[in-house]
Amino acid sequence: MKEVTLDCLGEACPVPLVKAQKALEDLAIGDVLIVSIDHSCAMKNVPEWAREAGHNVEIEEVDDGEWEVVIEKAK
């Protein structure tokens, strides 16, 4: 099982999502992608997209206004 961290701190709204989509393509099933974000908008669309696509998603608030979206590739 591989674990990849994607640093999207300071990136505005669509960028974390596009980067996460690209990064997830290269992973195998069961691998985990951790997206670090501090843009509240990405808090909504990254998990929503990943759930919609059928992956397992968790959100963790690391600090005030800083989150990690943990995506386990499921398919």
Binding site: A12, C13, P14, L17, H39, E48, W49, E52, K75
Partner: protein
């Protein structure tokens, strides 16, 4: 939603996905922000009351503005995402939210305008009936490019700067620069482009009831289209 989400943990749970402990960021103990919140609420309330005693409308605008910002932040309501996400992710939940908001405000504004009209009073908001034409579409297109690149439209940028996302101060700065430039040159644009297009006030064309019915039908049609699009996109993404 797809049919493969039975093992998806609910939002905010931890521990469902195995991850190496080394990558888990060390959590700082968080200070409660509630005292700051109470203090801020008192300051906002105080300023609002002070403004209201000087000028009632000013105080009213202050509180409605605060309420708007609060809802925008808490709901992650984003006009940019409502138009961008259908293309980017196939998600139309925000698109539907914006359409619902438009339908509700349409009814509200219609009621205000119609009651004024029925009483023979001047119809409020006539100053906002502006010419519609090619310039609207060109402007909307440029605005659309700008808001996707900068990560927010006007309200979204303001809300995120307030929330503490400092990078968008850059967007805000150039948003102000652009607004000042356009305000300074607006007369020229108006003379050469805007005034050559017709002004359309729907109740004049379709009658009062026709206007609201047609408007709600169009919004309803867009809502159904967005719903179907979102479902079709979601399904194709999952397979």
């Amino acid at each position: 939603m797809s049919d493969t989400t039975e093992n998806t943990p609910a939002t905010g749970t931890t521990g469902g996905i195995r991850r190496s402990s080394s990558s888990r960021a060390s959590k700082k103990p968080k200070k409660s922000t509630i005292p700051y919140g109470i203090l801020l609420a008192l300051v906002i309330g105080g300023i609002g009351v002070a403004l209201g005693t000087v000028n009632f409308t000013l105080g009213f605008f202050w509180f409605t503005g605060m309420a708007f910002g609060f809802i925008l932040q808490k709901t992650r309501f984003c006009f940019t995402a409502s138009l961008r996400d259908p293309y980017l992710t196939g998600s139309t939940s925000l698109t539907k939210a914006v359409l619902t908001a438009l339908a509700i405000t349409s009814l509200g504004f219609w009621a205000i305008m119609y009651s004024a009209h029925a009483k023979g009073l001047p119809i409020p908001g006539q100053g906002f009936v502006v010419p519609f034409g090619v310039h609207t579409m060109v402007g909307a297109f440029i605005f659309g490019i700008g808001m996707v690149i900068s990560g927010g439209c006007a309200s979204g940028t303001l809300m995120r700067v307030g929330e503490g996302f400092l990078m968008q101060i850059l967007s805000l700065t150039f948003f102000i620069v652009g607004s000042v430039l356009s305000a300074a040159t607006f007369g020229w644009w108006q003379l050469n482009f805007i005034n050559q297009s017709p002004k359309v006030f729907l109740p004049d064309v379709l009658g009062w009831f026709g206007a609201i019915v047609v408007q709600l039908l169009i919004i309803g049609f867009l809502w159904i289209a967005a719903d179907k699009y979102g479902k079709a996109k979601g399904a194709s993404d999952a397979h």
